[in-house]
Symmetry: D2
Subunit: 133 residues, 4 copies
């Protein structure tokens, strides 16, 4: 994915945000929005769907929030640290919550195992970017 | 819009969230995501687009965040107050920032005036729902 | 919702698109994205969730497509009739499919009954706008 | 990105859709939604923003449509070939239109050059998946 190329081709100052942490976080958000959408759908098809209701709901929220976070982080014009921090914080909370929930089904369902890992990676990428702001 | 009907037809407990504040906030988020998308596009077509760069960027972020917030608030299964609060907080920050930015162009551009008003309404609706959690 | 005000405040030509059909379609898409998100979540909480898998999946697709359609229709700059028609066509297909699916559960579940109605309204609003292009 | 792992961990039949074409198309859509959001923002910051209005608008539409397409393709439950085809068709049209527009600025702006390439890749990935349905 040409995320780094896109970040580097921005023609003006990027507001002093850490470039490596930014690229890593955008990639983690894209990865996580996809795995959460896919995990929600895989849970929905499991025979034990009734046990996976909270997992599906967490997946759907986390997917929406990660997609929005990837968008916000892909914009640099008129950079607003306050807004960036609030969005990253919501994303971190969503990823932790969804990672915990998926983690509980990781031994039963491979999609939950993979999705729990992408949630953890995204949670950490958000935390690292927040620290660098 | 049948937002209230949809909220009331949820078959289980909604986690004790205030129903009127919830319905008002979902509606305000939908209204705000639309007016921000439309305002970004109207700003883009103005002769003075170069002066409206920050406004367009704020509009795009606010639109994305309001759409995600409307989705999160439309789900009740496995209600998570911590996540709801974080998302509402990001939405409030985005609406305040975008409302302030649009407010600066309200006398020049009617789309900025209307959009500033929907941002303020959405900011207040988020604040009221946060208070009720 | 100030959809009409936002459409009318656009500073340049809107490409000859029928204004009333446009406003009605944007509103129908916003209504439908919300009711589909809410219906997916309500289905998820039903005791008979296992019978509602296809309904939940249709709801999630329809919600995403309606949200994107509302965004595309809220932009007028560099109007592209070909793109508008393709997006409206996908939205019409999604609304018909989801309306049919929800319609099968309308007697059992009030959320499916209300959602089937918003899907039908949105399908018709898309069809009317396509005819006017 | 664990797109392939997520596709393969789906517990039921995926409706006979070509697995390699599906994985490639989801990845191309995620790549394209990001580069289009970033390109819109980079165009917005260019000194010559007034010449890039149509490019920004194409970018925003293409980003929304690619994100929705990635979501629809990440779901397999209750597979609906008719809906999948309509969404892929809208995505192909959006990518072609945006790729053409960005291509016109590719020599001037590196972000437009990179984005034109991701649009072409996504257009081709959609076409290949449509052919395989």
């Amino acid at each position: 994915m040409p995320i780094r190329e896109m970040v580097e081709s921005y023609p003006k100052d990027r507001g002093g945000i850490d470039r490596d942490a930014l690229v890593a976080c955008i990639e983690a958000c894209l990865e996580c929005t996809q795995s959460c959408t896919a995990c929600a759908d895989a849970c929905l098809s499991e025979d034990g769907v009734a046990e996976l209701r909270t997992c599906i709901r967490s997946n759907l929220d986390c997917s929406d929030i990660c997609a929005t976070t990837a968008n916000v982080l892909s914009r640099h014009t008129g950079y607003d640290a306050n807004l960036t921090r609030s969005v990253l914080d919501a994303c971190r909370v969503a990823c932790r919550s969804c990672g915990d929930e998926c983690g509980q089904h990781a031994e039963m369902h491979d999609h939950c195992r993979v999705c729990a890992e992408t949630c953890r990676r995204c949670e950490q990428a958000c935390a690292r970017l927040i620290d660098s702001l």
